[in-house]
């Protein structure tokens, strides 16, 4: 199944241009606005770089020819004039960039209407994602996946329960830190339906590399449908294996940390697993979610995500299979 290495060499740089985690491929207003100032910066700075390198090249070429003692005093007035011209040019260029940066910053802060409120809480090393509602019973809780409606501004409240994290979804917006004792609000207005990847951008300890967020931008209808589906409690276990797995879940230490709405498990130390099987990844992006990966995870989470706080729970291979049956049924 693996493509030949040469395909990887040719394709990967191209893949980067249209990547699911790339600031160069904006799929939302905020990222596009920042993209504007990036292009302005690239143009102005590229010009200044070229100008400086040309002057340097000229000086080197000229220096290679200079043999005799040049009457350096002869050039002093001209160089002095050039220096003042250069200062004027640099000041003008920097002023343009500073003003542009300020204006872009203001544009990012313009008030929005009909805002969807989302709450994201960072923990070592996963994201709790909540869609609050005035009716507490209608608050949706999930983990490591963020569903957003297209063409509508979402305001994501960022909190942390331990160290500093930073939520970064480059296709949609710049990053914002999750700081203890503070609530920061990240605004995103997606304009393109699709899947994107967010990742923690502030070093947060052992598994900083495996703290990803699966971002899905959907049409308003699809988003609403997803929300209704996920507000519902977990599907009751059907087969004998699933029922046994559900039993094991509340008998084993799993229940100490995880919640599955509709069952007796209601802890919030670890990710909510009510609709676990509908997620794309395991361990906040550490692996694609498959039966095999889940079985391996349950046997020893540290093998997939070294340092993860979830312990290896002692159980037999058969018990593990039943637990996998149950968890994979939680669509």
């Amino acid at each position: 199944m693996r493509p030949a290495p040469w395909i990887a060499v040719v394709a990967l740089p191209l893949a980067g241009c249209a990547g699911v985690q790339s600031a160069l491929d904006p799929a939302g207003d905020e990222a596009a606005t920042i993209g504007d100032i990036w292009h302005l910066m690239l143009g102005v700075c590229g010009f200044m770089f070229a100008l400086t390198m040309l002057f340097l090249a000229w000086a080197i070429v000229r220096g290679r020819r200079a043999r005799e003692a040049d009457a350096e005093a002869r050039h002093e007035p001209a160089l002095s004039l050039a220096l003042h011209g250069w200062i004027a040019l640099v000041v003008a260029g920097l002023a343009v960039l500073a003003i542009a940066s300020f204006l872009v910053d203001r544009r990012l802060l313009a008030p929005a209407t009909d805002v969807l409120r989302v709450r994201v809480t960072g923990m070592q090393w996963w994201w709790r994602v909540e869609y609050p509602s005035d009716d507490p019973g209608r608050t949706l809780v999930t983990a490591n996946e963020l569903h957003l409606p297209v063409d509508r501004t979402s305001e994501i409240e960022l909190r942390t329960e331990d160290v500093i994290h930073s939520l970064w979804i480059p296709n949609l917006a710049g990053k914002l830190d999750l700081v203890p004792g503070r609530v920061n609000t990240l605004r995103v207005t997606p304009r393109r339906i699709g899947g994107f990847r967010g990742q923690c951008a502030e070093f947060c300890g052992l598994d900083h590399a495996w703290m990803a967020l699966d971002v899905r931008v959907e049409s308003a209808d699809a988003f609403e449908a997803w929300r209704q589906r996920h507000l519902a409690p977990a599907k009751p276990p059907l087969s004998a294996g699933e029922r046994e797995g559900a039993q094991l879940f509340v008998q084993k230490p799993c229940v100490m940390c995880h919640a599955i709405r509709g069952s007796d498990a209601a802890a919030s130390t670890g990710p909510d697993l009510t609709h676990f099987a509908s997620r794309a990844t395991l361990g906040a992006g550490a692996r694609p979610l498959t039966r095999e990966a889940l079985a391996m995870w349950l046997a020893d989470p540290n093998r997939i995500k070294p340092g993860v706080h979830m312990p290896a729970v002692p159980m037999t291979a058969a018990e593990r299979d039943r637990l996998v049956d149950y968890l994979m049924s939680l669509e």
């Binding site: 990887a8 060499v9 990967l12 740089p13 893949a15 980067g16 990547g19 699911v20 985690q21 600031a23 100032i37 910066m41 700075c45 770089f49 400086t52 340097l56 000229w58 000086a59 080197i60 220096g63 200079a66 043999r67 005799e68 003692a69 040049d70 350096e72 050039h75 002093e76 160089l79 002095s80 050039a82 220096l83 250069w86 640099v90 000041v91 920097l94 940066s101 300020f102 910053d105 070592q124 331990d162 160290v163 500093i164 970064w168 710049g174 914002l176 830190d177 203890p180 004792g181 990742q199 951008a201 502030e202 070093f203 300890g205 052992l206 598994d207 900083h208 590399a209 992006g285 340092g307």
Partner: protein
């Protein structure tokens, strides 16, 4: 001491007599004990430089290990625990054990010579500074080898570095490393300020002072104002961890961002503390090899001073993503963008100097040209990350890794290598090999760009910093591999440099006093200089003393039987009083060892500070015990 720079009125017999007396007066005790007791700025400067370069190599090896791990996605070479220690050690080593010390080390050697004096101010403090620096560096590397090295990054953000999330002694060792190196750096800064302001050769007014001395003066003042902030921060951290204070604990009314403010109030000037000495080196090299004074000298001085001031006004640009008020952030955008102006002025002036001079493209100038190409790019990406909105995309990604390696390696290490090629003959009496030097330069230049240029792109396509691995399929694989290949090219270049140094030490061409026909005073004495630096202290009549007169007028009258230096006034460098310099002593070393015991002890128990202070007090008492021969005049 070569006599050809002196007025012919001095009789050879008198010259020989004075030289003999001076050599006797300024000599160290013989043997190993003398090596330990020395207060000669040249011996201490030499060992400071060598030690800093050893840490540079060690820091580079850590980087190679990291690049090897990142060459492939999901590489199993090492786990996150090892990797986090590696990058924490790499950053801490390069910043605290290499970059700042090596710049100060070169200054310790060169500044007194360039200023035309016999030794650095407070020479025992200088010896103490070296020993405490050495002890700090050895301590942290021993800790690293014992698996108690730092793990929370060189920036050690709380609460990750608090005892709750970083249990054990790893972060305590990191925090004490800061204390060690800050004490050492502050000591040298004080010495340099005093030397530059009070010990310049008569006639070397501020308006004639070489730009390297200006650069070191500005740097030293910056060290004095910046370092206390990080010492405060690391002391808070230690006391939070060790005795249960709550400076950074939000739950108890502390503040997590306080750490970042204190750390970056030091951390941003720190970058310029590394960079400004390099600016002085560049001006020196550009002038000598263009065979003309640097164009627009007053602008250059103003640019150095402006950079020094502005550097303290932009620390918040490291914190744009923490959610501080936007209006305040905009101020720091403006300040960060403004600091590009003095750099732009200097870059213009250097190129104009080359343009209007008669340049010789020897290895030192090659490194300066390499600097110009790399640093201008790094400076421009610096303008980019200064913009609040753009920084929200670029912050904490590989774009920033690329940016600061362009400004730090391009802005400081390239000039430093140029300075090595330039001053090596003065320090050792032999020239470094030019052919190897050109290979050294080109391999470094190519390797550097292959390593760090792709990182700009990696950051833009989403790769965050400080990740020990990454999944395949995000478009990062190829460019990471390229960067790793570049890192090995840099390593080869560094090996070539080491080979060049060893070979040239044994069989390099003899340098003579002044192989480059340079303008500054350090070339008016023999290579290597005698313990007393100059037989007669020179008198300066222009900004380029060796270019404008065949003979340098000198100060006469002292017998050379006392360890005396001439103090001059701060602005006009008018001769004032003679000042007695201390003799060699073992007590700076003993004090440093006692303080080392205190620092390490305090990692394990707060009582270490109490009981450890007793030997320190005893050592300091002996250090400052007045001897009969000491009297001020």
């Amino acid at each position: 001491m070569s006599s050809d720079h002196y007025a012919p009125t001095i009789q050879p017999a008198e010259l020989a007599d004075v030289e003999a007396r001076l050599a006797r007066t300024w000599a160290d005790p013989p043997g190993f004990l003398g090596w330990l007791m020395t207060v000669d700025h040249k011996r201490i400067g030499r060992r400071y430089i060598v030690t800093a370069m050893v840490f540079f190599v060690l820091g580079g090896l850590l980087a190679l290990a990291m690049r090897t791990q990142l060459a492939r996605p999901e590489s199993g070479l090492m786990g996150p625990d090892r990797y986090n220690q590696l990058f924490s050690m790499h950053g801490s080593t390069m910043m605290f054990l290499f970059a700042v010390p090596v710049m100060e080390a070169v200054a310790v050697y060169i500044v007194p010579l360039m200023a035309g004096t016999r030794n650095i101010s407070f020479p025992r403090l200088n010896a103490f500074s070296y020993w405490i620096y050495l002890c700090g560096g050895v301590t942290i590397f021993v800790a690293f080898l014992l698996d108690i090295g730092p793990e929370a990054g060189w920036f050690a953000y709380v609460p990750l570095s608090s005892s709750a999330y970083s249990p054990g002694k790893r972060t305590d060792f990191w925090a004490q490393l800061i204390t060690f190196t800050e004490v050492a750096a502050l000591a040298v800064a004080v010495e340099l300020v005093a030397t530059i302001l009070k010990q310049r050769a008569p006639g070397m007014t501020l308006g004639r002072m070489p730009l390297f001395l200006w650069a070191m003066l500005v740097t030293s003042f910056m060290v004095i104002f910046a370092m206390p902030a990080v010492m405060l921060a690391s002391s808070f951290l230690i006391s939070d961890r060790l005795v249960g204070t709550q400076f950074f604990n939000v739950a108890e009314g502390g503040d997590a961002l306080l750490w970042q403010h204190l750390f970056w109030f030091f951390g941003h000037p720190e970058v310029y503390i590394i960079f400004i000495p390099a600016l002085g080196m560049i001006s020196t090299i550009v002038a000598t090899f263009s065979r003309r004074p640097v164009f627009a000298y007053p602008y250059m001085v103003l640019a150095l001073i402006a950079t020094g001031f502005l550097a303290f006004g932009l620390w918040v640009h490291h914190m744009f993503a923490t959610g501080l008020p936007h209006l305040g952030n905009s101020f720091y955008t403006a300040a960060s963008i403004t600091i590009a102006l003095p750099s732009a002025v200097q870059i213009f002036a250097w190129i104009a100097t080359i343009w209007s001079g008669r340049p010789r493209f020897a290895t030192p100038l090659l490194f300066v040209i390499g600097f110009l190409a790399i640093f201008v790019l790094g400076g421009l990406t610096g303008v980019m990350v200064a913009s609040v909105p753009l920084d929200l995309q670029l912050h904490d990604t590989y774009f920033v890794v690329a940016h600061f390696h362009y400004v730090l390696i391009g802005g400081a290490v390239f000039p430093l290598f140029g300075a090595f090629y330039y001053w090596f003959p003065k320090i050792t009496g032999r020239l470094l090999d030019e052919t190897l030097g050109k290979w050294n330069f080109w391999l470094f230049f190519v390797g550097f760009n292959v390593t760090f240029f792709p990182m700009h792109y990696l950051g833009l396509i989403g790769m965050p910093r400080r990740v020990y691995t990454y999944p395949p399929g995000l478009g990062w694989d190829l460019w990471n591999l390229v960067a790793t290949i570049g890192a090995y090219l840099i390593a080869i270049s560094a090996l070539l440099f080491v080979f060049n140094v060893i070979r040239s030490l044994r069989s390099g061409a003899r340098a003579g006093d002044d192989p480059w026909q340079a303008p500054d005073l350090e070339w008016a004495t023999s290579s290597p200089p005698p313990p007393h630096n100059f037989t007669y202290l020179p008198i300066v009549q222009s900004a380029e003393p060796l270019w404008h007169s065949d003979e340098i007028p000198v100060v006469r009258g002292a017998t050379g039987d006392k360890r005396e230096v001439l103090l001059t006034s701060a602005v006009e460098a008018a001769p004032g009083i003679r000042w007695q310099m201390p003799e060699p002593s073992l007590w700076p070393l003993v004090s440093a060892l006692a303080l080392t015991v205190l620092f390490i002890w305090s990692v394990f128990s707060p009582w270490g500070v109490v009981w450890g202070a007793i030997p320190v007090a005893i050592a300091l008492t002996f250090w400052f015990w007045p001897s009969k021969s000491e009297q001020s005049e």
